[in-house]
């Protein structure tokens, strides 16, 4: 479903006997990889900019999104990066969230939310640590309250009752489709 990140592969690595991963969604020719490069590739997954996902997105590895995602994203113990081309209309739950693109919806992280320069978040943030760069766009509230395990609890129970603002934002975002994901270009 997800495109393997071709960018992290060392260009001059040796081919290995390791099994080849499934073909990526987006175009791009295979390159020879080292063992280390393959291991790195296994840990970083990329959703390319031509990919549109509507529904619930769960994962147990770090993920970079350059495409469009609408619905819910859950990466409980991993890092979610919204790339510069990424456009998210979703409730997001992750360990850490790095935003370089656009997010509309509430973001909950158990460790940190980092909105980089030119990144945009329109929604409420719940996280013990928040960094908003100069030049970033943010509209909403930031909850850094020191409730024991507040963010973890929220991550574990994404269906908890949202705030009125969150309900408005969720209503503004398209509803996820019941039967999982639809992937298309």
């Amino acid at each position: 479903m997800w495109k393997r990140d071709e960018a992290v592969r060392p260009a001059s690595g040796q081919p290995t006997a390791a099994p080849q991963p499934p073909a990526p969604i987006s175009a791009g020719g295979p390159a020879p990889r080292s063992e280390a490069g393959y291991q790195m590739e296994k840990d970083i997954v990329n959703i390319g900019k031509s990919v549109v996902i509507k529904g619930e997105l769960n994962g147990s590895e770090d993920l970079t999104i350059e495409g469009h995602v609408e619905g819910t994203i859950q990466l409980r113990d991993h890092v979610l990066t919204i790339g510069p081309n990424g456009k998210i209309k979703a409730q997001v739950f992750a360990k850490s969230v790095i935003v370089l693109g656009e997010v509309t919806g509430n973001v909950t992280a158990s460790e940190k939310v980092d909105i980089r320069d030119n990144g945009s978040v329109d929604g409420d943030i719940i996280s013990p640590r928040v960094a908003i760069a100069e030049g970033a766009h943010f509209r909403g509230s930031v909850d850094m309250q020191r409730k024991p395990g507040a963010a973890q609890a929220a991550t574990a129970k994404p269906a908890a009752t949202p705030t009125p603002q969150a309900q408005e934002k969720a209503a503004a975002a398209p509803q996820p489709q019941a039967a999982g994901q639809r992937v298309g270009a």
């Binding site: 909105i115 640590r129 928040v130 960094a131 908003i132 760069a133 100069e134 030049g135 970033a136 766009h137 943010f138 509209r139 909403g140 509230s141 930031v142 909850d143 850094m144 309250q145 020191r146 409730k147 009125p164 603002q165």
Partner: protein, 215 residues
């Protein structure tokens, strides 16, 4: 044009090209007396809620979040004012402000008002004062800055917290300048639902006033 204008252009003429880049070493840092007291009034509270009426400043969000472990609502009234000025709908601003704040009555522990009141017309500042008084909890605190001299430039100031006693003043382009310099009695009337807890006149001629809502 007066003699001084011929010798040197007016300050607001110099300030027409004001790119709001990242803070530089040139941004002046001024002492603040009231911020520490504002923080002290909130530290005793469990999980306080803060309302920031200024633009989003990432380091401020981190500072207040880490100092207070609070929830922060950033409601940039300066941006609202700019938008209304550019659209020619300043007359509608008071009504807009009355509908602007989604917070429930008495749900906010602290309000960072900065110097927004100086830039609003009287009806809009009255509407803002009523709204912040409405959302403030009993014994909640409001920190407001008020100028003492009529400046001629059309710039807002972004107050970047360095620490409890220092603020960096970073100016950026505004659609219009300060509207009036309020006398102390005007400020007291404006925030008639609050009482003045502390008031300071700083060396940079800024008045810092800490209000508390009577319990």
């Amino acid at each position: 044009m007066g003699l001084l204008d011929r010798i040197a252009p007016r300050r607001n003429e110099l300030d027409v090209t004001p790119p709001s880049g990242p803070p530089t070493v040139d941004d002046p840092v001024f002492a603040t007396k009231a911020l520490r007291k504002f923080l002290a009034s909130l530290t005793a509270r469990e999980m306080p809620v803060l309302l920031d009426l200024g633009p989003v400043v990432g380091s401020n969000v981190s500072f207040f979040g880490e100092q207070l472990g609070c929830k922060i609502f950033v409601e940039d009234i300066f941006a609202d004012l700019d938008r209304h000025v550019r659209n020619g709908t300043v007359d509608e601003l008071p009504a807009f402000i009355h509908k602007r704040f989604p917070q429930a009555p008495e749900s906010v522990d602290g309000v960072l008002c900065w110097d927004i009141v100086d830039y609003l017309d009287r009806p809009a500042s009255q509407a803002l004062a009523e709204e912040v008084t409405r959302v403030l909890r009993p014994d909640g605190a409001l920190l407001g800055f008020f100028g003492t001299a009529q400046p001629r430039d059309t710039r807002y100031t972004k107050y970047i917290v360095i620490d409890e006693v220092n603020l960096k003043h970073k100016s950026y382009q505004a659609a219009r300048g300060r509207q009036a310099i309020l006398l102390n009695r005007d400020i007291l009337r404006l925030f008639s639902g609050l009482r003045v807890s502390d008031s300071f006149l700083l060396q940079n001629n800024l008045r810092e006033i800490l209000f508390r809502k009577p319990a």
